[in-house]
């Protein structure tokens, strides 16, 4: 039985971005521990696309009740396939689904758990996996080792690069029988609401313009939306801005919120608390616009403008518009 298990998702016939990130982690563990990799799928989706990534087995639980996310049912199915797969290390994405399921899965499997992992390596001759994660709001980095197996591990999204195909496809699918009953869902998701400002997903955007408390109110965000539109990017926010209700929580960037890794990140009126910066470490170029020259954001930015955003953004938007020819 393969020792490394990945909870995967298939989107439009191919492994999702987060699944490919998990497979990068899995390949690393598999290489170091001399183990195979299996993937668990809940519901339909073409498994064949996974075999190119060195996946030996796909365990699938298919049931009409798994069509949309219901925590209790997903947990039952996931526990079932994880037990069938019998893996020592189980990798889940640290996205909203992984955050909801991982710790409860660990409890049910009597496993250990490490969350928010940003780096995986294998140590010494005992071949112990070591998981690096941020601690203290990103002010420190901790290396965590399991004291027992199995261990459930969640990876911080958008941190590891997506996996590249590895070797000849050779996997097989193993159906896992599961009987579920709606009565087993003690809580129910009854509605799902999308919130988007520019039509570009924040996590996928090549340019992100984020605003913080320094904008002084929700009106400030209209300038940010204009700039993001011109750059064909998305708008993000600090927690101070989402907590104030200026923009929806789903726009929060940082430790609790989203991790983004754009080519360009523009932080406007954001002080640069480590918990915010935790979400932008993958950004290639960081620009800070802040009235206070002492703001910590200038310690992490590549380019900085000290000034009032109200004076900077209008000419910036105009210039970008000229350049982009829109």
């Amino acid at each position: 039985m393969p020792g490394i298990f990945v909870l995967g998702t298939i989107e439009n016939g191919i492994p999702s971005r987060s699944t490919l990130e998990l497979l990068t982690g899995a390949q690393r563990l598999a290489g170091g521990l001399q183990e195979g990799v299996s993937v668990g799928l809940l519901g339909p989706g073409d498994a064949a696309s996974l075999y190119r990534y060195g996946v030996e087995a796909v365990y699938r639980a298919n049931h009409p009740l798994l069509k949309e996310y219901q925590a209790d049912l997903y947990l039952l199915a996931l526990q079932r396939i994880a037990q069938t797969a019998g893996a020592r290390v189980l990798l889940l994405s640290g996205d909203s689904l992984g955050r909801d399921l991982a710790a409860r899965l660990a409890f049910r499997l009597k496993a250990g758990i490490v969350t928010d992992v940003i780096e995986i390596d294998i140590e010494g001759s005992e071949k112990m996996p070591r998981f690096t994660r941020p601690a203290y709001g990103g002010k420190a980095a901790a290396v965590i080792i399991p004291k027992r197996f199995p261990v459930v591990v969640t990876l911080k999204p958008r941190t590891l690069d997506p996996a590249a195909p590895a070797g000849k496809p050779k996997g097989k699918e193993i159906p896992v029988e599961i009987s579920l009953d709606l009565a087993q869902a003690r809580t129910r998701m009854v509605e799902r609401v999308q919130e988007e400002t520019t039509g570009v997903k924040l996590e996928d955007a090549r340019a992100v313009v984020s605003g913080g408390r320094g904008l002084g109110g929700p009106e400030g965000f209209t300038l940010l939306v204009q700039l993001a539109r011109v750059l064909k990017g998305a708008v993000g926010a600090s927690r101070a801005a989402t907590d104030a209700g200026w923009v929806p929580s789903s726009m929060q960037v940082g430790q609790t919120g989203k991790t983004v890794s754009p080519d360009l990140y523009i932080a406007v009126g954001i002080s640069g608390a480590t918990q915010h910066v935790a979400g932008i470490s993958g950004a290639k170029t960081i620009v800070a616009i802040n009235a206070d020259p002492e703001a910590p954001i200038f310690k992490v930015a590549h380019l900085g403008i000290v000034g009032d955003y109200k004076a900077i953004l209008p000419p910036l938007i105009a210039k970008c518009r000229e350049l982009m020819g829109s």
């Binding site: 925590a71 710790a103 409890f107 928010d116 601690a135 129910r188 907590d243 380019l303």
Partner: protein, 265 residues
Amino acid sequence: MRIVVCVKQIIDPELPASQFRIDAESKRQRANGHPLVISPYDENALEVALTLKEKTGGTVAVVSAGEPSAISALRKGLAMGADEAALISDPALDGSDAFGLAAALARGIQKLGTPDLVLCGCESGDWADRTVGPILAEALNIPCVSFVAQVEAQDGRLRMRRVVEEGYEIWEGAPPLLLTILSHESNVPRYPKVKDIMTASRRSIPTWSAADLGVEAGDIGKAAMRTEVQQLTLPSRESRCELLDGEPAQQVATLITKLRERKAI
């Protein structure tokens, strides 16, 4: 409704990185006399509990596991409006991971009386494992909804707004439930009144040991540890920022040039 809120006392997480020091031996942050606070999202959770109580009646209890100093976190909870508080404190808890902690918290919560609703923060302000809430739900054998920004009670059922990547989801469930709470404009923590701080300072708060709670010695502390912190280090932080001078028009022009050089636009 009987509501229990789990609060963790931590060193102020908004302390600037420049003042952050590591204790090499314990692999934790050195306290260095920095202020101790309630982990921020736990205050949001408490606000949710107090608001629900105001609307639907019932009681709110706050419970914490930790050092004796955590009494002050509980007193703040009482001052904000909680009816009851309990501290779980025992050297036997040292080295507990989230499973050990949840085992102790579960027993403490049951000792307070069977709850209808247990609220935790969505993540703590220091280690942010995001595990104690969901594991506690399992230990109590109740369902869990995580990253909840808003809760409404309706005809004995609860409606939760859960924040996800694309927006939010609405979840429904009947008590007993455990929710992990995210900050939101609707749950900004209230300031306690001076009079209530005075009253809370005179309240006696029970401290329970693992034995008081009947927690098995093998379920807590180092012996029960499933994962271990092997190393805690400071990431390197070197400033590389180029500040752009001049009037706004000049700054913007330079910025554009630099961004094009870096192929960022």
